[in-house]
Amino acid sequence: MKYYRSFWIFFIIIFIIGVLLIGTFTFFSYLPDTPDNEINQARVALAGARQARADIYVPEMFTEASALYDSAISNWQFQNEKFVLNRNFSKSISFALASERKATAAKKLAVTNAANIQSNLQLVMNSIEKQIEVFERAFVDLPVREEIRKTYQRGKLMLSEAKVCYASGNFLVCNDRVKQARSAIDLATDSAKGMLDNYFTHFSLWQKLFKETIDYSKSNHTTVLIIDKISKTCRVYSNGVLKSTYDVELGKNWMGTKLYRGDKRTPEGKYRINKKKSGHQTKYYKAMLLDYPSEADKQRFNQEKKKGNIPRKATIGDLIEIHGGGGKGVDWTNGCIALANNDIDELFDKVPEGTPVTIIGSLITKDELLKK
């Protein structure tokens, strides 16, 4: 009897354990899958994207991928608050998968963008360098306005900064500096080109004046002087043939013809040597006074005054000379043409009073000048 009772107790215990085991197995098999694998993959993808600087090169994509990751975590947290059998991690998993896809794509694009920006920066910096070379060659000797010069200078400094940033791998700041450099150099170049374009609108007149003067020299078998402002030379022609060339220095604002006293411009047009001075007659070693202002100058002066383009109290000015004291390497006169003393010595002996002097902007075209 006792044996049967123990058997039943043992049987019941085994039965209960069996039921518990089956119950536990059933319970665990109904537990939803947690999103930890997917979230881990998304996190790894995000870390890779950040390492590739996706936050900088594709910020929107990176932000989106991060937001999807945060949503996956939030949803996981939310589901964890529920009773264990009511949890559903499918949303969290889908957020995590989307985050991983986005982060992977962001990383890929960031790498491409970074490489593109890097190579593009190098190209743009090279092209700005070339632009600077052109500016140096074509415009640096021109009396461009102070603000143009300053803008150009700022552009050069920005390019230097861009190079420093490029060397330190800071490509986005480099890109910013390159843009600033480009815009400053473009502005300076455009302004200087504009000045030159404006100046060269007189080119046909200069050609005409030059031809007339050379023809005069040929037909009268005489010596004439051509002052070429752009090349800063005084050319001596006899019987229409070029005999010698001297370097000259002009008024500080030599571009454009002289309009009034004090504008520091050298006049343009046809003149003659009125008087030759030396010794105590001039403070510039030797000088040859021109018959400025001509009738054309007076007419222009009156017209411009009427238009209000020159100050009301301004006078036309006089005493424009070809004189010594030059060779300073900079345009410094108030409108006169300065030669080095040894050059004025030579010229002084070659030309008598009454010699025609034609002052023009340039003998070569603007395009030829820019190509030089």
């Binding site: 930890d36 996190r43 870390a47 964890n80 949890r87 300053k150 400094l157 190079k163």
Partner: protein, 201 residues
């Protein structure tokens, strides 16, 4: 016998109940998060980007592990606590190294600024000695404009430094230094050339 078995069952149930109700290590989580924010506030995201990225990633791992434990029927937070402590320590180290880096940059800026200022002064002296003949004068005018630009750049750098933009300041002042060194070399070469010419005469 029956009583003994019931006691065993009761104890097992207690253990299961206790294990299932392990507490989320909220203090450790808060501490780790605060340490990461501290590092960010110190400028780690700017001056120690790679290290700060690693810290952020570690925090993400730890927080994901917290959720993983929460999802389990029997949560165990021992390992997560250790992880969170690790994040906190790492974040503090990153903060420290950020402060060191900031000091280094500040020092570099200061040294470069002093060098640039000295170069500007030296260049001004050299300008007075440079040859002023034909073309020389024009070039000197150019150099003067360049030098004015550099001085403006130094002032800009000082202003940037005052706003706390250390990396921007460093780039600016380094560029100013390079430009000043270029001018210095150009002036010295011109002076040397002109002195050599005088000696030949």
């Amino acid at each position: 016998m029956k009583n003994r078995m019931l006691t065993v069952f009761a104890m097992m149930a207690m253990v299961v109940f206790m294990a299932g109700c392990a507490k989320v290590p909220q203090m450790e989580i808060d501490n780790a998060k605060a340490a990461v924010e501290d590092a960010r506030a110190a400028g780690a995201d700017l001056y120690q980007q790679a290290q700060f990225g690693a810290v952020q990633d570690s925090l993400k791992v730890a927080l994901a592990n917290v959720e993983k434990q929460k999802s389990k029927l029997f949560s165990r937070y021992g390992a997560v606590k250790v992880q969170l402590e690790g994040v906190k320590t790492l974040a503090m180290q990153v903060k420290e190294s950020t402060l060191v880096r900031i000091n280094e940059i500040k020092q570099e800026i200061q040294t470069t600024m002093t060098e640039v200022t000295a170069l500007i002064e030296e260049n001004k002296t050299l300008l007075t000695k440079a040859p002023k003949g034909k073309e020389g004068r024009e070039a000197l005018e150019q150099i003067k404009t360049d030098m004015t630009g550099i001085e403006t750049s130094v002032t800009d750098a000082q202003n940037m430094l005052n706003t706390g933009d250390l990396l921007g300041t460093l780039d600016k002042i380094k560029a100013a230094k390079e430009k000043s060194m270029g001018i210095n070399a150009e002036l010295k070469a011109a002076i040397e050339k002109s002195q050599a010419g005088k000696k030949r005469k």
